[in-house]
Every structure is written in structure tokens, then in C-alpha cells.
């Protein structure tokens, strides 16, 4: 059998992948492929099946059905060999808070069978990368959430993995800490590391991912690059209008006459999907509508998700 370059660069392949917990189907027959060097994202709200998918890729959750290969291997029978080539940043911190920052990397590196001197050299480099060199000999317990997350990222890189899996890497962090994490992930991307991440933050997905899978209720609603998805499922611009509460419904009815590709009436505002926001705003004014506030913006993945599922991402 001939193995071409294409096969070697195909890192993960899923066909009809399913995960059920009793009666509940968390992942419902999804197909996707991951190539080397990509940053691949699963975007969806909580409960969409993203973490279950990640756990199956991480070989700690046997699939209930379908096909899954990682590096061409079977996660059920070849777990140790696959995991030796993966780095995992779990959603919930699993650092050993009783050990120091350095000891955490040592213990973890030893799990991968690395020699002490190799771990020592990598620890210095990785702590520098995640900006924790000064805390190397401190215990983990008092570190901030952002620092713990960065340490978890450093720990996941100790084995120089071919794929880094990040499950909700910035959930629970304050905005500043999130930006530091994004910056580090962006650097990894620049270095050509293959990243797979899950997120329910559209800005995270938009900034980091080359390729996205939009998940909802265990199924894939759409896939493509962030740009492609926006072009395919939304308009270039969105006009957001807010009205006084008692005028909200009435305004929505009147707006039906305004030229727009689509109108979404949310609880607190109305969204008009249009090629030109200024034209739509002028038309609304011509219909005698006086919004409390108006905003013209680019379409985002949030709009894509709303279009695909009828619901918002970050609720």
C-alpha cells in the first residue's frame, strides 16, 4: 500500500463519530478532518458536544460509534502511543497544587518518560515562553487563574506534542488574562504547532482558527474558515437597533418593509442583515422609526451561529 504525503499530514479523521451516555447522545455522528499545521476550532455553546469530542480525541473516552483515527491509529487500542504525541490543556485545571511550578513540569515530563536533563532544559524554555520563570519555585496554589492556565499550557508542551488539544482555553479568565493566553497561542500557531481548540467565544475562534466546525446539540451545523462561514451564512454588515421597550415589537413590524436580507428580533435589540448598514438605517428613519441607539458593524461568527441555530452563543 502506498502512503502518500497527504496521508502523513492527515492527523485526525472522524466519520460518523458518536458518543452516547446512556440515553443522552452528546456527539451525534460528526465528520471532520485535521491536517498538520492547522488551527482547528470547535465552536458552539455549552453542551454542544465539544468537550466530549475532545475527550475522544484525547483517548480518554471510547467512541460509542463511528470511526476515529488519530495519526492513523485507533484511540481505543493505541491510546498510549497516541497520547505520547498529544498535548492536552483540559477545561478544568488539573495542576498539582501541592507541588511547585517546576515540579509540575517535572512530574508531567516523567510521565512521558523524558530524562531529567531534557525536562530541565525544556522547563526553562517553556516557563520563559509562558512568562512564569520568576514563579518557577513557588507553589501552584496561590497563582492566579491566568497563570495556572499558562502553566497548564507549558505543561502540555513539555513532551513537544504534534497536536495540542485545548478545551475552552480561556473560559473563566478575566479579559486581560485571556489576551495573554491568546497571544501565547498565536505564537504557537506562528511556530507551526497544530492546535485543536474548543470555544464558545466567537472572537477567540475568529482570531485563532484557520478552520472551524460549528457544533450544536451534538451535530455539526457548518464547517469552513471563519471568513467563509461569515460570507456563506451572513451579510457583510449588520445594523443593530435598540428601541424603547414599549416600541420594540411595533418597530419590528415596521422594519419588515426595510430592505434587508434578514431580520433577527432579539429580546433587547433588532438585527438587520444587510449589504450596506447606512442605507438600511436611512430606510428605517424614512419609515419614521426612532431607535434609542443604532450601530453598524461587520458580521461575526455570532451572527453565523444565530443564523444556523436560531440561538446565541454565549448565553
Amino acid at each position: 500500500m502506498v502512503t502518500g504525503v497527504a496521508d502523513q499530514d492527515m492527523l485526525i479523521r472522524a466519520r460518523g463519530l458518536t458518543k452516547a451516555f446512556g440515553q443522552f447522545t452528546a456527539v451525534d455522528g460528526i465528520d471532520f478532518e485535521l491536517s498538520r499545521g492547522q488551527v482547528f476550532g470547535f465552536l458552539g455553546p455549552n453542551g454542544a458536544g465539544k468537550s466530549s469530542t475532545m475527550r475522544m480525541i484525547g483517548c480518554v473516552s471510547p467512541p460509542s460509534g463511528g470511526e476515529l483515527t488519530i495519526f492513523g491509529l485507533n484511540p481505543v487500542t493505541d491510546g498510549p502511543s497516541i497520547r505520547a504525541r498529544l498535548g492536552v490543556v483540559p477545561q478544568e485545571d488539573t495542576l498539582d497544587v501541592e507541588l511547585t511550578v517546576r515540579e509540575n513540569l517535572l512530574v508531567y515530563g516523567r510521565y512521558f518518560g523524558l530524562r531529567r536533563d531534557v525536562i530541565k532544559e525544556r522547563t526553562a524554555r517553556l516557563l520563559d515562553f509562558v512568562q512564569l520563570s520568576e514563579r518557577a519555585d513557588d507553589e501552584v496554589e496561590p497563582l492566579s487563574g491566568g497563570m495556572k492556565r499558562r502553566l497548564t499550557i507549558a505543561r502540555s508542551l513539555i513532551s513537544e506534542p504534534e497536536i495540542l488539544l485545548l478545551d475552552e482555553p480561556t473560559t473563566g479568565l478575566d479579559p486581560q488574562a485571556r489576551h495573554v493566553v491568546w497571544d501565547r497561542l498565536y505564537r504557537l500557531k506562528q511556530q507551526g504547532v497544530t492546535l485543536v481548540l474548543t470555544t464558545h467565544y466567537m472572537d477567540e475562534a475568529e482570531q485563532l482558527c484557520d478552520r472551524l466546525v460549528v457544533m450544536d446539540r451534538g451535530k455539526i451545523a457548518a464547517q469552513g474558515s471563519p471568513r467563509e462561514l461569515i460570507t456563506r451564512y451572513s451579510t457583510p454588515e449588520v445594523l443593530e437597533l435598540r428601541f424603547a421597550l414599549d416600541e420594540h415589537e411595533q418597530a419590528a413590524e415596521k422594519l419588515a418593509d426595510v430592505p434587508a436580507a434578514r431580520i433577527e428580533v432579539l429580546a433587547d435589540r433588532i438585527l438587520l442583515y444587510t449589504d450596506d448598514g447606512d442605507v438600511a438605517l436611512a430606510a428605517a428613519a424614512a419609515h419614521g422609526l426612532e431607535p434609542v441607539t443604532s450601530l453598524i458593524r461587520r458580521s461575526t461568527l455570532e451572527d453565523v451561529f444565530l443564523r444556523l441555530t436560531g440561538r446565541r452563543l454565549e448565553d
Binding site: 451516555f21 475527550r55 484525547g58 480518554v60 473516552s61 471510547p62 491510546g79 498510549p80 502511543s81 497520547r83 505520547a84 498529544l86 492536552v88 483540559p90 478544568e92 485545571d93 488539573t94 495542576l95 498539582d96 497544587v97 501541592e98 507541588l99 515540579e103 517535572l106 512530574v107 508531567y108 516523567r110 510521565y111 512521558f112 518518560g113 502540555s156 513532551s159
Partner: protein, 258 residues
């Protein structure tokens, strides 16, 4: 490969143990000193004055010490296989961290059993030294009660660990302690021969692993061990430990691979 992975997990426990080993040595010495002093010497004088025929003609100290050795191994096993296991999966989540590495759930189980074996050997060795200092060992065969005590401990550690990994709440452990460990400690022949128990409850004592551990350690320490009886006791303890190991592989797998 399986064995090498378990050693990696043993190294993890050793790294952790570096912070707490001093305290465990103190309690390892203090425990036999207190019990042998108070019960062996203190209570022993009263018992010996009353006649030691029912003890097989040996002093109470000589009778008690090897029984306590086995009972102490049970206590060590209980300590190592409850909260450390439960905490690793429930509080610290270090087990979840390890499952993201090449290690499998069974490797984590074996790794911790190896660590428990080491702790059992340490505490039993310290106990034997204290026993010798009290002059409580009668035969050189007492040396062989070291592996016997370790085996007794493993007959508890393996099944308890298999259970601890799947516990939802830590209150289960105080139930095991109150209704399992303490009654065994008191009624499995450690402090008085099981022949003193009412005939109807004696079979209950005979099926507990601790009675076999006590009987084995005692016969070795007193130099009365017979091959058949010793093989029987050891075989029973091995069977219980093996059942625990079989169960533990499965419960670890089920808990960590959802």
C-alpha cells in the same frame, strides 16, 4: 511496557512523599512504641500474672506484638488507599492529568499499589525494629513476618483502592473505618485468641483477611509456623489481594475513561 508505566506513576507518588515522609516515620515509630508499651508491658503484666496457658505459654507481649504488626499493616493500607486515591480523582485531579499522558488507568492503579507496598514495607520494618527492642520476638523467623505483614496490608489495600476510586463522597471511608477496620482490629485475634470468642461468631473471624495475617505473623514470630498452615494463610491473603487487583483495574478504567 505496562510495568514501566506503573513505575512512572510510582515516581509521582515518591515526588509527593518527599514532603511528608518525616511525619510518617515519627508515627511509624510512635505507633508500636505506644501500643507495645501500654498493652504489651502494662496490660501484659496483669495477663501474665493470671497465667498464659491460653496464649500458648508465651508472654502477652510476645503474643500481642506480631498481631499488632499485622493490624498496623491493615491500618497503613487503609490510610494509603482511601483519601490519597479519592483526592487524586476528586480534589486535585492529578489522576485526570495523568490520563492525558501515555499512562492508562490500570497503570495509575498499579503505580499506587507499588507505592502502598513500599509504605507497608517501611512501616512494618520500623515495627519489627521496635518489636526487637522490646524483646517481643521469640524466633529469627520473625524476619519472614515482614513480607507476611506487607501481604496482609495488600489484601486490604487492593480492594479498598478499587472501591475508593469510584466513591462519590468521602463519608464512605469513615463507614469502612467504623464498621470494618475497628471491629477487625479488635476481634481478629490481635489482642486475644479467637478461641475466646463465642463459637457462633468464630467463623466470622476466620474469613477476615486480618485473622490470617495475624495468625501468619504470630506463628513466624513465635517460631511455631508450619508449612501447610502458613501456605494456607498466605494463599488466602494472596487470593483476596488478587481479587482486589482484578476489581481495581476495572473500577479505575470505568472511573477515568467515561
Amino acid at each position: 511496557m505496562q510495568r514501566a508505566f506503573a513505575v512512572r506513576q510510582l515516581r509521582f507518588w515518591l515526588t509527593n512523599y518527599r514532603r511528608t515522609w518525616r511525619g510518617t516515620i515519627y508515627s511509624g515509630v510512635l505507633n508500636p512504641v505506644l501500643y507495645l508499651g501500654a498493652m504489651g508491658l502494662g496490660l501484659g503484666t496483669l495477663v501474665d500474672a493470671h497465667g498464659t496457658a491460653s496464649l500458648g505459654g508465651v508472654s502477652y507481649l510476645e503474643f500481642l506484638a506480631p498481631g499488632l504488626l499485622a493490624a498496623a499493616a491493615m491500618q497503613t493500607a487503609m490510610g494509603e488507599s482511601t483519601y490519597p486515591v479519592f483526592g487524586s480523582v476528586k480534589w486535585l485531579k492529578t489522576y485526570q492529568a495523568a490520563t492525558a499522558t501515555p499512562l492508562r488507568p490500570a497503570d495509575l492503579f498499579y503505580g499506587h499499589l507499588l507505592f502502598t507496598t513500599m509504605r507497608l514495607a517501611m512501616n512494618s520494618a520500623v515495627f519489627l525494629v521496635v518489636m526487637a527492642a522490646f524483646g517481643a520476638a521469640k524466633s529469627v523467623w520473625v524476619i519472614a513476618s515482614l513480607p507476611a505483614a506487607v501481604l496482609t496490608g495488600l489484601a486490604f489495600a487492593a480492594p479498598i483502592e478499587a472501591y475508593a476510586i469510584k466513591c462519590k463522597k468521602e463519608t464512605s471511608f469513615s463507614l469502612i473505618f467504623r464498621f470494618g477496620i475497628i471491629p477487625l482490629f479488635l476481634f481478629s485475634g490481635t489482642f486475644f485468641p479467637v478461641s475466646q470468642l463465642p463459637v457462633v461468631v468464630r467463623p466470622l473471624a476466620y474469613i477476615t483477611p486480618l485473622w490470617h495475617g495475624v495468625a501468619l505473623c504470630r506463628s513466624l514470630s513465635l517460631g511455631t509456623a508450619g508449612l501447610a498452615a502458613s501456605a494456607g494463610h498466605a494463599g488466602y491473603l494472596i487470593a483476596v489481594a488478587a481479587a482486589g487487583i482484578y476489581a481495581g483495574q476495572r473500577t479505575y478504567q470505568r472511573r477515568l475513561y467515561a
